[in-house]
Amino acid sequence: MYRAVVIYENERRMILIDPDITQDLAPIIKSLFNLTIDIKVFVQSLNAEVFSTREIFQGDDLLVVPVQHPEVYRAEEFQDLPESHESSTFIKVDLASISNKEFKGKTLLKELNSWAIPLKFELIFPNGVSKLQNKIRRTVWCCVKKCNFRLYFTAFPEKEKTFDELNFSLESFKDTHNHPLTASEEHTFNQEIIKEIDCLKGKMKTKGDLQDHINNKYNKNFTYSQISHFVTKLLNENFGMPDQDAYEFLEEIKKDIKEQGGNYSVDYDGSNNSLKRILYVSGTMMAYSEKFLDMVLVDTTYKRNRFNMSLVNVVGINNYGKTILLAFGLMTDEKADSYNWFFRNLKEIWKKEPIYFISDECNEIINGKV
């Protein structure tokens, strides 16, 4: 348990400070972080996980503790955001259809969005759950920055029930938008953006990069979760669900071996479709391996499939000095046991031993032991 102080800044940044800090420290904190607005300080008890950014700032009596926890407590008595938009565009939303309903915590946002999107705006959860005196509160915001639209949902906490299982109902609200309602167009993926994501999805380093790229190119503000959700959706649409993949792969291999010869060995659990490791030698590879096993090169590569399986590549050299493929395998881990399995089966399939092996790592310790 950490005693901590929550500071709110204009841009909704949150800093938690440890340990016993009172209101008197507010001006000091303000000067430390160069804050220009007034800040409010709340003391709360937190059950928080401290992670490595702890070292960001470590003064004599202050310690900044950023917190990463699903249930970050957020003090809701929060100064209203300045209305930078033109005040002439206030748009009221009729809340009658949701005011008497109860929502499950898990599907709260989904159901609300299915109500909101036809009305041309979109809702988000900016933060976690806040604790009031005897209630739990979850706040839903409009996704446009600096919009004042809020819905406050509350529920009574029950023992042995997570937030997802509680029944939330609308308590209070701020039902005016300060911007024209075009959000549904701004925040949905049109055909052009879908094409762009589809062709870039595997090529950007992170999904964050993809988010920045799309937002800059099309002048949108998609959140990270929107982009990552859409990428997985596209992947599943294009390639099918992951479970099916291993099954199809095996079927193709079996079919190929029936037609053109070859051999394979596999560590596969059919009950839950989990493929642990596989070794495959095609018909032509078998034909090569009968004659050209003078020199065999072995190496592994990574990031060549969507399941993070490492790809073991076995290559030889034929009588004209050209590189030929001799076998390949996929493995979920790189433990000694897996390699043992791989080479044991390779020997069984080849029924022959090469004269030389070349590999890239040289560890005489292991070599000495074995």
Partner: protein
């Protein structure tokens, strides 16, 4: 430790000799013996060349030079000793005594990885991996076929009419013969002139 597990796999199951990639070893040498470069740049370059030296004498010479006092510190000496113990696995001057297809590095497989990297990424399906391997196999075979057909045409020059090549053509395939002819014609195109008693000049 993951990197070394493949060695365990090979050693446990195959009795064949294992070689170590000379290029990777060279990189290891470069980092381990970096301190030498400040004192003696020439010696440092010799160390880097160790895996690729073809002369036995030169190889022994540089090791003698390294083992002189005040050249290496204790840990570096230990590392060097451990490598020299298994020198038959990486030194080119020793490997070339046996038939090793003229290969002592894993550069061929790295190039294969590059081809795979162009076609596969971290989003590709497993069946895509299979199809890419099939594709590479097919393109290789078609390349071979194309090359054979190209070299099957007989050229009628002086070389093909010579008795030597006619006899050789009974043993070798047209493709191999073509390569042999190229080297043969190259060595025929040199002429030598005697300038002095002991001096020959190549033109």
């Amino acid at each position: 430790m993951n990197l070394f597990n493949n060695l365990v796999g090979i050693n446990n199951n195959f009795k064949s000799k294992r070689l170590i990639c000379a290029w990777h070893l060279q990189r290891n040498f470069a980092s381990k013996f970096a301190s030498v470069s400040k004192q003696n740049q020439e010696l440092y370059e010799k160390i880097l060349n160790l895996p690729f030296v073809t002369m036995k004498e030169k190889f022994d010479e540089t090791i003698k030079e390294l083992k002189k006092p005040n050249v290496l510190n204790q840990t570096q000496l230990q590392y060097l000793d451990s490598k020299i113990q298994i020198k038959s696995q990486w030194a080119k001057c020793l490997i070339k005594e046996h038939f090793a297809v003229g290969v002592s590095t894993t550069s061929r497989i790295e190039s294969m990885h590059h081809i795979l990297a162009e076609k596969l990424n971290s989003n590709s399906r497993l069946s895509e991996v299979l199809s890419v391997f099939k594709e590479i196999e097919k393109s290789q075979i078609s390349k071979f076929k194309e090359e054979f057909s190209r070299h099957k045409k007989k050229l009628n020059n002086q070389l093909t009419q010579s008795q030597l090549t006619q006899k050789l053509s009974e043993i070798y395939t047209p493709y191999a013969l073509k390569k042999l002819e190229q080297k043969f014609s190259k060595c025929l195109s040199y002429t030598f002139e005697q300038k002095d008693k002991d001096k020959w000049l190549r033109i």
